[in-house]
Symmetry: C2
Subunit: 195 residues, 2 copies
DNA sequence: GTCTATAGCCTGATAGAC
DNA sequence: GTCTATCAGGCTATAGAC
């Protein structure tokens, strides 16, 4: 039963280190040292580094699904739900300024490595994309819901990349405000209640 | 005199390989093999890998300055100049879909490595930023010229990151069109000529 | 200036004791 | 399940022949 715990520790620590230092720059020794296990123990749980990457992406997919389901439950209107998405830039700004977006930077690295896992990592974007698309659809923008979802994803990626490159915190807040204004402009005026 | 040639070959090849495969994933052996020189010869021109990175950033800064000066000369109006900037996404879309933006991906990697050269790499963004800012200023938007410049930089970064992650070419074209529409909306209406 | 040879370290991965 | 010991191979960097 201790196996399940150790395995989970490995995946969660790898998740953090892949984000903070990059996949290629993270060695088994780093993960092992951070948990307090030996490098040898590693291979009882995973046979290769790529298997760990796969487990990390799986964990992120799982966490993302839970996050989106939570937003769906917590927020009442599609507009408020989309605002939750925009707000992660503010909530995570400290880490974003240091390491960028966990999804975007992983995909960028895997693209350069021509790594097979790029497809699976892209599913993380696909989750946000289809969720946002459904919100825009519910907002009455069914014709261009997917384009609006991609546009918002694009802006969040641009903000994260530039904020990390220039280490500029104020920039995040200004662009988040612009994103919220843009979002309001996409919402059709709500008809006044008929009394 | 052959030294200058070899040195230039090293920097230009490193520039390409850092872009295509990443800084960390590019070994001296890769650069040497691509040029056709020995690994040992390397250290006659550069003492460390970081020195090569510095030279690569220097080359990119130089090329960027030349590019911006060329746009300044080729295009007549500020609006046309800014459109030149937007157009690089289309002109380089094949490579962008494979490797993302050369500036953004390098900065992302250096940020994770906590590399000292991040500051110098950020100067590449600063060049585009101040150039774009001057164009918006000339467009009559002196009050928010810098914010508009950052906004456009942000969008180009978002487009490059997402296009590379999802390997989606149509997305680049749609967003470039949206960027051009946005740009037109920022231009104050040109008063009709007084006859 | 460019080469070959090699040092010294770190990497992912394996074998086998406990 | 976890450990120690170890392997083969890759890396940056150096030394010295030509």
């Amino acid at each position: 039963m201790a196996a399940a715990l150790t395995r989970r520790q490995i995946v969660e620590t790898a998740d953090r280190l892949f984000y903070e230092n990059g996949f290629g720059a993270t060695a088994f020794a780093d993960i092992a040292a951070s948990i307090g296990i030996s490098r040898g123990n590693f291979y009882y749980h995973f046979r290769t580094k790529d298997e760990i990457l796969d487990a990390v992406i799986g964990l992120r997919l799982q966490k993302t699904e839970a996050l989106l389901a939570d937003w769906e439950k917590q927020a009442e209107t599609p507009r408020d739900r989309i605002r939750r998405f925009v707000h992660i830039l503010v909530a995570n700004r400290a880490k974003i300024m240091l390491y960028g977006c966990p999804v975007g930077t992983l995909c960028s690295e895997l693209a350069k490595l021509d790594h097979l896992a790029l497809g699976r990592a892209g599913e993380l974007f696909a989750l946000f994309r289809s969720w946002l698309s459904r919100q825009f659809d519910a907002l009455g923008r069914s014709a261009d819901a997917d384009a609006l979802a991609m546009h918002l994803l694009m802006r969040s990626q641009g903000v994260a990349t530039l904020a990390a490159a220039l280490r500029d915190e104020g920039f995040i807040e200004r662009e988040v405000q612009a994103m919220n204004l843009w979002l309001d402009a996409q919402c059709p005026a709500i008809p006044p209640p008929t009394i």
